[in-house]
C-alpha cells in the first residue's frame, strides 16, 4: 500500500515539477554569442522579444483585471439577491457556480461566437427588431470581447463565494446598527461591506488568475485587440520554436501569478478569519415591493439572456441544419448535425480517447491525492500544514500551456501517457481538495477509537478513514474526470501525432466554421463533463448531509 501511495505521489509530483522546471530553463540559458553580427542580431531579436512580452504582459494583466471587475459587478448583486432573498430560481442561480468548472472554455468560446458574433443570435435579433442593415454588436474579437466572455463565464465564482460569506453575516449586528439609527445604506457600508471584503477580494483574485491563464478563449477572440502571455507562449513554443522566449514568458507569467496567488491566500485567510458573530443567520425574506421585484426580475432576465443565452444557443444550433437550397443561408430544424457528428469516422476514436485519458488521469490523480491526504492526516507541523495549503495552489501558478511546453521539452514526442500525466498533474489538487475536506470532517474521536482498537495505522487508514470518506474520493475523481474530459489546451499544445479527443475535435470543427456539428460535439462534451460534475456534486452533498 505504502508503495502504491509513494509511487503515485511521486509520479504526479514529477509530472508537475519536471516540466514546470524544464519550461523555464531555456530562459536562463545563455544566448549564443559568437560573431559580432550575430550578436547584434540576437540583441535586436531580444529587444523585440522583450517588447512583445511586455505588450503581452500588459494586455494579459489588463484583460484579467477588467474580467475580474466585470465578474464582481455581475456577481456581487447576484450574491446580495441569493443571500438575502427567497425567490423562484434561487437554487438554480447558485448552481451556476458549477459552470466555470464543468463547462470547458472551448464550449464557452463557441457559445459566445454563436450568441454575440457578427452573425450571432443577438445581432440577428437586433437587426430584425430595429431594421438595421449592419450588425450592431461587434465587440467580440477585441479586448472587450475577451473581458466580457471571461467576466460572464466566471461571475458564478464571485457569486458562490460572496453568497456564502453574506449568509454567514450575523443578523443581530445589522439589527443593532438599525437600532442605533444607521440607515440601510450606512449599515451596508459600515457593517456588511467590511465583512464581505475578504470574500470579494479572494474571489476576484481567483477570477483574475483564471483569466490570466485563460488560453482557448483568448486564442479565438484575442487576435485583433492583443494577445496574452499564454497565447504568446503557445506561439513561441509551437509555431516559431523560439524556446528561449517561451521560457521567458513562462517565467514572467509564473512570477506574476505567484504574486496574485499570495494576495489570494491572504484575502481568503482574511475572509475565513472574518468574525462570524453569534452565527445567528438571518432568515431570507421573500422579495417585497414593486421596486425590489422589478429590479430582481430585470437582473435575472439579464443573466438568463446574456449568460444562459449563449449556452442555450449551442443546444439550439446543434438542432439546426442549413436548408438544402444553394441560394439560401437559412437554417431549419433537423437532426442532421447530430447524425453527421455521431457518424464521423473519428467520432468513436475521439470519444474513446477522451474517456480513456480522463479516466486514467482521474484514477492517478485521485490515488495520489488520497495517499497524500492520508500521509498528512496526522501531521500537524508547520511543514505539513504548508504542504497541505500550498498543494491546491500549484495549478494557479503554473499554467496548462506552460506545463505542456515543459512536457514537450522533456519528451519531444508526446504520447497519450504524457497527456495523462500532464492532466493528472494539473487537475490533482481538485481531487486533493475534495478528499482533504472529507477527511477534515471525520471527528477526532473516531481516529482515537481506531487507535485504541488497533495498533496498526493502516487499519485506521483503510478500515476506518477510506470507508468514511469514499464519497469525497469519488467526488474528487469526478472533478478530475470532468476537467480532463473537457480540456482542449493540453492536447492542443502537446500536439500528439494522430491523437484526437472530443475537445480537439470541437476546436477543429468550430475553426472550420462547421458550427452545427461543433455544437453537437459541444453538447456531447458538456453532457459528459456535466454528468461527471453532477455525480461528484451529488457525492459531496451526500457526504455533507451525512456529516
Amino acid at each position: 500500500m505504502a508503495l502504491i501511495g509513494g509511487l503515485s505521489i511521486t509520479v504526479v509530483a514529477l509530472a508537475f515539477l519536471d516540466p514546470a522546471v524544464a519550461a523555464v530553463i531555456p530562459a536562463l540559458a545563455r544566448a549564443p554569442a559568437e560573431g559580432g553580427a550575430l550578436q547584434a542580431q540576437v540583441g535586436v531579436a531580444e529587444g523585440l522579444t522583450r517588447g512583445r512580452i511586455l505588450a503581452a504582459l500588459r494586455f494579459t494583466v489588463t484583460e484579467a483585471f477588467l474580467s475580474a471587475v466585470v465578474a464582481i459587478l455581475i456577481g456581487v448583486p447576484a450574491a446580495a439577491l441569493a443571500a438575502r432573498r427567497d425567490f423562484p430560481g434561487r437554487r438554480f442561480l447558485l448552481s451556476l457556480s458549477g459552470v466555470p468548472l464543468c463547462v470547458p472554455p472551448v464550449i464557452i468560446a463557441l457559445a459566445f461566437v454563436l450568441f454575440y458574433g457578427r452573425q450571432g443570435y443577438l445581432n440577428a435579433f437586433l437587426m430584425r427588431a430595429f431594421g438595421l442593415a449592419d450588425p450592431p454588436v461587434t465587440f467580440l474579437y477585441s479586448l472587450a470581447g475577451v473581458v466580457i466572455a471571461h467576466g460572464f463565464y466566471n461571475f458564478p465564482v464571485v457569486l458562490r463565494t460572496v453568497t456564502t460569506a453574506w449568509e454567514r453575516l450575523d443578523g443581530s449586528e445589522l439589527e443593532a446598527a438599525a437600532l442605533l439609527g444607521a440607515s440601510p445604506a450606512r449599515a451596508f457600508r459600515t457593517i456588511t461591506l467590511p465583512r464581505l471584503w475578504g470574500a470579494i477580494l479572494s474571489s476576484a483574485a481567483l477570477v483574475f488568475l483564471y483569466c490570466f491563464f485563460s488560453f482557448v478563449i483568448v486564442l479565438l477572440f484575442g487576435g485583433v485587440g492583443g494577445t496574452t502571455l499564454e497565447v504568446e507562449l503557445y506561439r513561441a513554443a509551437r509555431a516559431s520554436l523560439d524556446f528561449r522566449s517561451a521560457g521567458m514568458i513562462a517565467l514572467v507569467e509564473t512570477a506574476v501569478a505567484s504574486a496574485v496567488v499570495a494576495a489570494y491566500s491572504w484575502a481568503s485567510r482574511a475572509a475565513a478569519r472574518a468574525p462570524g458573530g453569534s452565527g445567528v443567520a438571518r432568515p431570507r425574506n421573500p422579495l417585497s415591493g414593486a421596486l425590489e421585484r422589478s429590479l430582481a426580475a430585470a437582473y435575472l432576465a439579464f443573466i438568463a439572456i446574456f449568460f444562459l443565452g449563449p449556452l442555450a444557443s449551442i443546444i439550439v444550433r446543434s438542432l439546426l441544419a442549413p436548408v438544402s437550397s444553394p441560394f439560401s443561408s437559412a437554417l431549419s430544424l433537423s437532426p442532421a448535425a447530430w447524425v453527421t457528428f455521431l457518424s464521423r469516422r473519428n467520432f468513436l476514436p475521439a470519444l474513446g480517447n477522451t474517456v480513456a485519458v480522463a479516466l486514467a488521469a482521474s484514477v492517478l490523480a485521485t490515488v495520489a491525492a488520497l495517499f497524500f491526504a492520508l500521509a498528512l492526516d496526522r501531521a500537524r507541523g508547520p511543514l505539513a500544514r504548508g504542504a497541505a495549503n500550498a498543494a491546491p495552489l500549484s495549478p494557479l501558478v503554473v499554467s496548462s500551456v506552460m506545463l505542456a511546453f515543459g512536457w514537450s521539452l522533456v519528451m519531444p514526442r508526446g504520447s497519450r501517457a504524457t497527456l495523462v500525466l500532464a492532466e493528472a498533474a494539473i487537475a490533482w489538487p481538485f481531487a486533493w481538495t475534495q478528499v482533504r475536506a472529507a477527511l477534515d470532517r471525520v471527528p477526532a474521536s473516531v481516529r482515537e477509537a481506531s487507535a485504541l482498537l488497533s495498533p496498526s495505522r493502516l487499519d485506521l487508514h483503510f478500515r476506518v478513514l477510506v470507508p468514511l470518506v469514499w464519497k469525497g474520493i469519488l467526488s474528487g475523481a469526478g472533478f478530475v474526470f470532468a476537467i480532463s474530459a473537457g480540456d482542449a489546451t493540453l492536447p492542443l499544445v502537446l500536439s500528439i501525432r494522430g491523437f484526437e479527443n472530443l475537445p480537439l475535435l470541437l476546436f477543429r470543427l468550430a475553426g472550420s466554421y462547421r458550427f452545427s456539428e461543433a455544437c453537437a460535439c459541444a453538447v456531447f462534451i458538456a453532457a459528459l463533463t456535466g454528468f461527471a460534475f453532477f455525480l461528484q456534486d451529488a457525492a459531496v452533498s451526500g457526504e455533507r448531509g451525512a456529516a
Binding site: 449586528e173 439589527e175 458573530g277
Partner: protein, 212 residues
C-alpha cells in the same frame, strides 16, 4: 393621563401560533417579561423595537404613537442576547457608532465613547477589539453603545444568559444599579424567575404561545 410606555394588544400571527401582549410602564421604572423559551417574549421586545412588524395593536412612547416608526428612529435601544457588537470595530467605534449615525463626526463619536467608557469603568479599552473582551466587559460595552444615543427606552434580550453563574450574579447587580442610577426605563426578557424578580420593579409572566 396615559402611561410612559403603552403597549396595547400588540399581536403577531404565524400560521401555527400567535403572540400577543398588553402592558404599560412608567418612566424610569423597569419590567421583566418572564416566560419559557419559545413563548414569544423576544418577539414582543422586537415588535417594540421595530425589528418585527406587528399584525395589529399599538405601541406608544411618551405620548407618541411609534407603532409604524422605523427602528432606530423611535428612541428605543436594545442590548442583544449575544450583544451583537461589531467585531471589526474597536470598542470606542462600537460605542460611537450610534452618535455618528445621528450626525456626530467620528471625533465627536469617540469623545462620547470616552465619556461612557469612563462612566462604566472601561478606561483604557477604547482601542481594544471587541474579540479580546471578557463576557462582562462585552456586556458593559453593549450597554454603553445602547445608551450613547440616549434612548427613551432600553430593551434587554436575555442579557445574562451568555454568562456563567458567578458573573451572572455580579452583573445582574450591576445592571440593576445602573438602571437606578442612570434612570433609564427598561424592559428585560428572561426565562429565569429569580433574575426577573431581582432586575425589575415588576414582572409580567408570559405563558406559551396562544393559538392564532
Amino acid at each position: 393621563m396615559s402611561a410612559y410606555l403603552d403597549v396595547r394588544d400588540l399581536r403577531k400571527r404565524w400560521p401555527a401560533r400567535s403572540v400577543a401582549a398588553s402592558f404599560s410602564l412608567e418612566k424610569g421604572s423597569s419590567l421583566a417579561l418572564l416566560g419559557p423559551s419559545g413563548c414569544g417574549k423576544s418577539t414582543v421586545l422586537r415588535m417594540i423595537a421595530g425589528l418585527v412588524t406587528p399584525d395589529s395593536g399599538s405601541v406608544s412612547l411618551d405620548g407618541e404613537d411609534i407603532t409604524r416608526a422605523r427602528a432606530g428612529l423611535r428612541g428605543v435601544g436594545m442590548v442583544f442576547q449575544d450583544y451583537a457588537l461589531f467585531p471589526h470595530l474597536s470598542v470606542e467605534d462600537n460605542i460611537g457608532y450610534g452618535p455618528v449615525s445621528f450626525g456626530a463626526t467620528r471625533r465627536e463619536g469617540r469623545a462620547i465613547a470616552a465619556k461612557w467608557l469612563e462612566r462604566f469603568g472601561l478606561e483604557g479599552f477604547a482601542k481594544r477589539k471587541v474579540d479580546s473582551l471578557s463576557g462582562g466587559e462585552r456586556q458593559r460595552v453593549a450597554l454603553a453603545r445602547t445608551l450613547a444615543v440616549r434612548p427613551r427606552l432600553v430593551l434587554f434580550d436575555e442579557p445574562l444568559s451568555a454568562l456563567d453563574t458567578e458573573l451572572r450574579e455580579r452583573l445582574r447587580g450591576e445592571l440593576r444599579e445602573r438602571q437606578k442610577s442612570l434612570g433609564y426605563t427598561a424592559i428585560y426578557v428572561t426565562h429565569d424567575e429569580a433574575e426577573a424578580a431581582f432586575l425589575a420593579d415588576a414582572v409580567l409572566r408570559m405563558d406559551g404561545p396562544v393559538a392564532p
